[in-house]
Subunit: 330 residues, 2 copies
């Protein structure tokens, strides 16, 4: 970080040429079915259409564009249980660098296979994300490698390019609803939106079954919380301070939705958009349904942050929904 | 048509600025899971990421750019049971034109709702596509309106822009596998690929439960056939002569796959790409699995032509798959 105390719109604009070297802008589509449901003009920003299926890859690509020769030679080291690791693996491969990713024992086999498919070395270590992270930080130090944190400024700057795409394509946007895990997505969105038009409401959403980031924002100080959500993209137990600081400055609201509402939103998105959202990616719709009266008649953008739902999760979600209301016979 | 007897690469290049006024290029991604499955480098062209969820919208957008003032004033008239109608509705709205779409009684309610959501007037008429089409052609004639056929040259030219994106992004492509309904997609792909590199294999695929286009191509003359496929995007009973003519000139092969194999491919695509494909959109993977030995080690592009699978179809496909091999407990 320079003397500036947080990322700015300028940093996002500067990230753009790096991001678009390897990635395309994603679609922003209005869906009439969702618009009727919320009684508003509802648009979906399709970050699930990214390679690796999630918005984070924009940050990874921006990060690898800014490495020193030493860092490039030493390769990247990071810890992840999911999309962040895939993003770093993808970005490393794009630049021909090595990536070593620590994952906790029992990590999602599909996501592990995806990281390995992208050429990363995946090492299982420890019972949860935090112990995997501590271990790999030590490895990176020993080897003189570049450790990549989850919410680094270079990642936030790259991620912000999706927010810029939203505002450029839909200048009349009234509200953007963003799922919050570590907070890089919502911070990047708020920085861009508020710099261009402070009237744009930026609303974060986390699961009530993983509320640490929301409780910390509400309290104005770090609060850890129990975590049992099915949406691993929202599963933050210990809040990240650098993203909290940005959120306290810029965020208009931050809501919690139940895991049940997230699972219903996954089904609604399949039905109305024919897109598979992971839990985090569907949380923005769950929030819009909860905030319906406030959003009436407005231009609302739901960030579908990722689509990496496993088949087991999909089966469970559809089975639950079937018990609630059986599908028509075909 | 001019004195040229069929569309050319030049026509596709000329369509490009019109198409990109309203649409973005779609992603072409390599999937390591599918590549292992086929023992080749397997790429998916994501036409399911289009607005309206299917490739056809490229054709609709190109068509509306070429209307006379009279045609613009009279509006568009067409018949459809699915994606073609949504494409015309979308294109008409983009240019501020009226669209009237005839659908057979009992048409898919989700697709009807989508056409209406795009502002089209939808009229139910007749028992099947052919009777709806005959009726709306008469209406268009009476009102001096512009009837839009399913395989018009302007549609093929617009659709060809996806093939150009494939060859530009992956010049080393060895084979492109394309689902065939009326044939506009496979014809456009063949015209572009063969003009740029005749060594690129272009392979069509239809369902064995709707083989009319494949049988006609094999026989070298129009052959009608029974039709019972679950993949409405492949459901052509009476072959289209203008696309047959192009296919006879350019196509390397044309295979049939069973509906069961298509449904398995839908599940594999959900698992490995986290994308929802409709039956037609998954047929290219089903064909690749069948042709595995021929494709070994090659750069293979599967066109995921559309993603408009209904919830009823999704439930059925997953239920079938569960009986075959139950998902791991979660």
């Amino acid at each position: 970080m320079t003397e500036r105390d947080m990322p700015s719109l300028f940093d996002v604009i500067a990230a753009r040429p790096h991001v678009y070297r390897f990635l395309k802008p994603t679609p922003l589509y209005r869906y009439s079915g969702l618009s009727e449901l919320i009684a508003a003009d509802v648009w979906v920003k399709h970050e699930n259409h990214q390679p690796v299926g999630a918005f984070k890859v924009r940050g990874g690509i921006n990060l690898v564009a800014h490495l020193s020769d030493n860092e490039r030679a030493s390769g990247l080291f990071t810890a992840s249980t999911g999309n962040h690791g895939q993003s770093i693996a993808y970005a490393a491969r794009a630049e021909g660098l090595r990536a070593t990713i620590a994952v906790p024992e029992g990590a999602n086999p599909g996501k592990v296979a995806a990281m390995r498919g992208l050429g990363a070395e995946v090492v299982f270590h420890g019972r949860d994300f935090d112990s995997a992270r501590e271990w790999i930080e030590g490895v990176a130090r020993e080897r003189g490698g570049r450790f990549v944190g989850s919410t680094e400024e270079l990642l936030i700057n790259g991620v912000g390019t999706y927010a810029l795409e939203i505002v450029e394509e839909l200048p009349g946007v009234d509200a953007i609803i963003v799922p919050v895990g570590a907070g890089s997505g919502v911070c990047a969105t708020a920085i861009v939106a508020k710099a261009i038009n402070p009237a744009i409401q930026v609303i974060g959403v986390q699961s009530a079954q993983a509320p640490a980031m929301q409780l910390s924002w509400s309290a104005g100080r770090p609060v850890s919380a129990d975590m049992s959500t099915v949406a691993e993209g929202l599963a933050t137990r210990i809040p990240f301070e650098n993203t909290q600081r940005i959120m306290r400055k810029y965020l208009d609201d931050f809501v919690l939705v139940e895991d049940d509402a997230i699972e219903e939103a996954i089904v609604l998105l399949l039905e109305h958009t024919h897109n598979l959202a992971e839990g985090a990616g569907a949380a923005s719709l769950a929030a819009a349904i909860m905030l319906k009266s406030r959003l009436a008649g407005k231009n609302v953008v739901l960030v579908m942050s990722g689509g990496n739902l496993s088949m087991e999760q999909l089966h469970r979600v559809l089975a639950k929904k079937s018990r609630a209301s059986p599908p028509a016979r075909s």
